[in-house]
Amino acid sequence: MAGARLAADIGGTFTDIAVEFDDNLHTCKVPTTPDAPEQGVLDGVVRTLDETGLGPADFSLIVHGTTLATNALIERKGAKTAMLVTEGFRDAVEMAYENRFEQYDIYMDKPPPLVPRELRFGVVERVDSRGNVLIPLPDDALASIIPILRSERIDAVAIGLMHSYVAPDHERRIAAILKSELPGVMVSLSSEVSPEIREYERWSTTVANAYVQPLMSSYLGRLSDSLSDLGFGCSLCLMTSGGGLCSLETARQFPIRLVESGPAGGAILAARLAQECGLDKVVSFDMGGTTAKICLIDNGEPLHSRRFEVARQYRFLKGSGLPLRIPVIEMVEIGAGGGSIARVDSLSRIQVGPDSAGAVPGPACYSKGGAAATVTDANLTLGRIDGEAFAGGTMKLDANAAAKTLEVDVGVPLSLSDEGAAFGISEVVEENMANAARVHAVESGAEVRGRSMIAFGGGAPLHAASLARKLEIDEVVVPVAAGVGSAVGFLQAPAAYEVVRSRYEILDNSFDVSALNALFSEMRDEASGIVRAAASDNALVENRTADMRYRGQGHEITIVLPDGPYNYQIGIDMIDRFETSYEATFSRRIPNLDVEVLNWSLRLSAAVPDSELCPPDPPATEPEPNGTRMLFDPETAAPMEVSVYDRDSLKPGNLIVGPAIITEDETTTIVLSGYEATVNARSHIVLRRAP
């Protein structure tokens, strides 16, 4: 039987495996092996073959996502990297935005650059914003630099020249010199990694790519070889932060595009589920051990963007990380997870996160040395988690340890009972997530209220109903295999690649349509080669956008363009599309002001068949509870006995009236009082406000 597909998602604690064959979905979790991450993947693959009875020859595709690149950036454990920049600009990557992201803390520091100053070298050359060469690159431009790169044993070099997004020639010539002089060194060009205007962001992206490239390239090589050794002959694709799959070769060339692959997989899962359930307006909610991710999905499609920040080092604050201009699925990520630590501040307010106890030492109840009160300790104390059945019963949680830290860290300072403290923590973390969701929606010109929520990841189903109530959301879907949502999402992602070009245009009479058609055709050729490598014969779908603004503004909004080629009317059409979108976001148009374009993008993806609509719910039936548990009731401020259901024993059509608890190995769904849960025809749990 060919056609089975396998996804492997390496996270901080667990490596998740999902396999789809015929109409079956099989999932498992194995421990992540940080020293040789491919080992965890292989462990999971072997276990899966064993559990499913499939052989390597049965597989047509393996999809992989990993946090390896992200971790290297967070821990600053990448390659020894040098940077070559236009002379006079070697401090751009360190000056960053010349600002402080935290107003009142005089001790805040900016993110240290990945390349120290002594390894950033100026190169004589200069090009202006139209691509005219003001100072030609001398043939011996690198004569004094090469010996230093050699003696410093540099593994990777990033090249960033001014305006190289419009004139890449000097960067290419420098790369050619490096390749011939230093054959083993990997070279990243800003004109290839991120050909967009704004030198700091383009160079930051390029340096990050260079910094993780040797590590990722060797890791991906080892993984590919090991899978071959096991007998897998199918292609290996990588999940990108943009929600598409790319080939191994592309991943080795642009590893920075892999940073946010796990959350992107989650968003893809939510998008497909939205299509399947016929939900037009969705907010997806993915909560793990350290962070929560919230993403808006309209008409079955998440929003795409090219703005991301990796390795935020200061309270998860915007601005405290390294900016990356790579295709990403637009979402907000905040420091709110099961491991988030709670404390009481000088104003007697409970603060939760963004610092996390992580997997080690973990929450106090893990008994692994963690001494701080966390969200998981609160959930255990409230009765939402069963300490005896955590992670499928593989881990026993210590309720006394949880209660003790809650008492010390929060209860005593605020004169609250243990349950009161736990409830406070849970309310605050939910409020934090609700506020993040609202602000994210405002920034996207959208509303959260009235959407449907799709909740997955180990922590989300515990908090989903409560969060939904805060956001005035009436319907929550908890999908099958909610605990390994990202890996399941990988299986549903199309092969895709996005190409971007900066090219400044004012949409007036001077606008050159034929040049634009030529530009898009060149972009299509570039993307097509890459997508074909990951999907040889599917039909391809093209999505074009332009980043536009009123002349003089500082931020662009991304506008979807029609398919090309274009004629002279495209300028008027674009202005109209821009103004319509601007008005939708900002409630007005601005008359008599020119519109300008900074960037053009083209995303090419393999066509994916539409999801089949989920059949209507079977007639409602009442399942038998598998037991009862004491769950804290906020109305009476006391525990009350509620029914517990084992998700595996539920059948489509089952209707459960809250308050109730539904358990599965990787997560627990809380059905609040006032809500009812239906198991739909595809076995997804749907929570709705009781009529």
């Binding site: 010349e98 402080r100 107003q103 005089i106 001790y107 914003s129 104003l347 409970i350 805060k470």
Partner: protein, 576 residues
Amino acid sequence: MASPKDPFSPIRLQIMWDRLIAVVEEQAQALIRTGFSTSTREAGDLSAGVFDVSGYMLAQAVTGTPGHVNSMARSVKHFLDRFPVSEMADGDVFLTNDPWKGTGHLHDFTFLTPCFKDQDLTALFASTCHVVDIGGRGMTSDGRTIYEEGLYIPLMRFAHAGKIDQTLIDIVTANVREPVQVVGDLHSLATCNDVACRRLREMLDEFALTDLNRLGSHILEKSKSASLEAIAKVPSGTYRNSMRIDGLEEPVDLVAEMTVGEDGIHVDFSGSSGISSYGINVPFCYTEAYASFGVKCIVAPEVPNNSGSLSTIRITAPEGTILNAEHPAPVSVRHVTGQMLPDVVFGCLAQAVDDAVPAEGTSCLWNLYAYGGPGRVEADPKQLADADTFTVLSFHSGGAGARPGKDGLSATAFPSGVRNVPVEVTEAISPLIVWRKEYRLDSGGAGEYRGGLGQTMELGLLQDAPFAFSALFDRIDYPPRGRDGGDNGGEGAIYLASGSRLNGKGTQTIPRGERVVVDMPGGGGLGEARMRDPRRVVDDVRGGLVSADVARSTYRVAIDDNGDVDENVTQKLRAN
């Protein structure tokens, strides 16, 4: 125990407080997204806040500028004096750009919107932002009275019961250089208040509240007591400090006397210089904002801004001083002087608390403000005939002061929260070209903890034409001072690449073919240089931040042939 669902249980009060802060953050976000002025968008030069019906501020968004910290709160009181709440109707919107009753210069508009729910006034929302132009001389120090600085809108109605005053719009349109953008910003201010009011109504419904009285008094009491607790950790007493800066026609002394007591902190600026004939004067509201910010940074950075926390900090300055310049003094670029005030306050606090206060830094922004084109530059019109018309304002910064236990931040704004504009963007929208933008060697004041480095920017024009450069710089004659034995930061400078010096303030013509070089100051050092860990000195030398000469002469660190610390020689150097 009260049920956690009781709206006035401690947890509910906290959640409601957090929500109120979220409401004003959303209000600010709505303004940032729609604002036109670069300083609003990129620098966060704006403010948003919610007030109770008596005009007490309950929450304020944390934005990029301390300049509105409590100036906006004071502004609301002025509105209420002029328009009592009893006369306010649903749909009314009030505005002003009065520098003395708003936030310090004509470029800042403040809007106030009463928020009604079920016919009852429940709260007031205020917002402030900087508009791109207000007519007059523009944002320069050149004006001699407020009348030259632009259009002056007194406290008045922008909308009456939902109907916008078209006469006002027509007057603004006729008086400013970029009417579409300025009028657009006025609408943005009104809209962001509306957005916030809508959110507040939803919040009141969700928590089943009819008013903000109980929540408001909780916020004000908690914040006040937390602030007083923080102040109690500062030893009581009177601390004095004086700082001299370049000023314009003559140096300016900023003199402070800080009294720390049980009931709060009082800073008085008696003894400071008199008013200038040019626009670097500071209206008192702006003095109060930056001085309060300085106190809060050190004493109680975690307590949110509201009338409760701010009531514990009292600022005074005698009329007729540069820190309380009265109408009709010119005040357009009051930030150049006002942004120095946190340093003045820090100098007082450094005497009261150990190891908690940074050395002085560049403090005022070093923005590049250039324009060109026919009729816009004082030069031979023939030379300008073919020149492109452009205006560029891009924000940049020198070094900040060294901090206890940490070096100062290089090329980073403080106290302003401004973001820079990418050089590539400046070059794409104008004929300017930046030839150099990098750290200045040895500009960080030496010390056990080194001051942040300043940067040098060198710019010219791609066309063969002169252009205008409007300088608004300080710390050229009087650089940032070190603290506790630390050296001063490097002084700033501005000159033509060919050598001749330019003035630190005022609009000047850059002849064709010339480049301007701007050397931004470095921050002051903290502690004696010879106490600095020699390995960190070597790191600085390796990175090209400190020269080997200065390492040896000032830090007294010798470096061997491998570039490492020469322990023996260093020991000898440091022994003397």
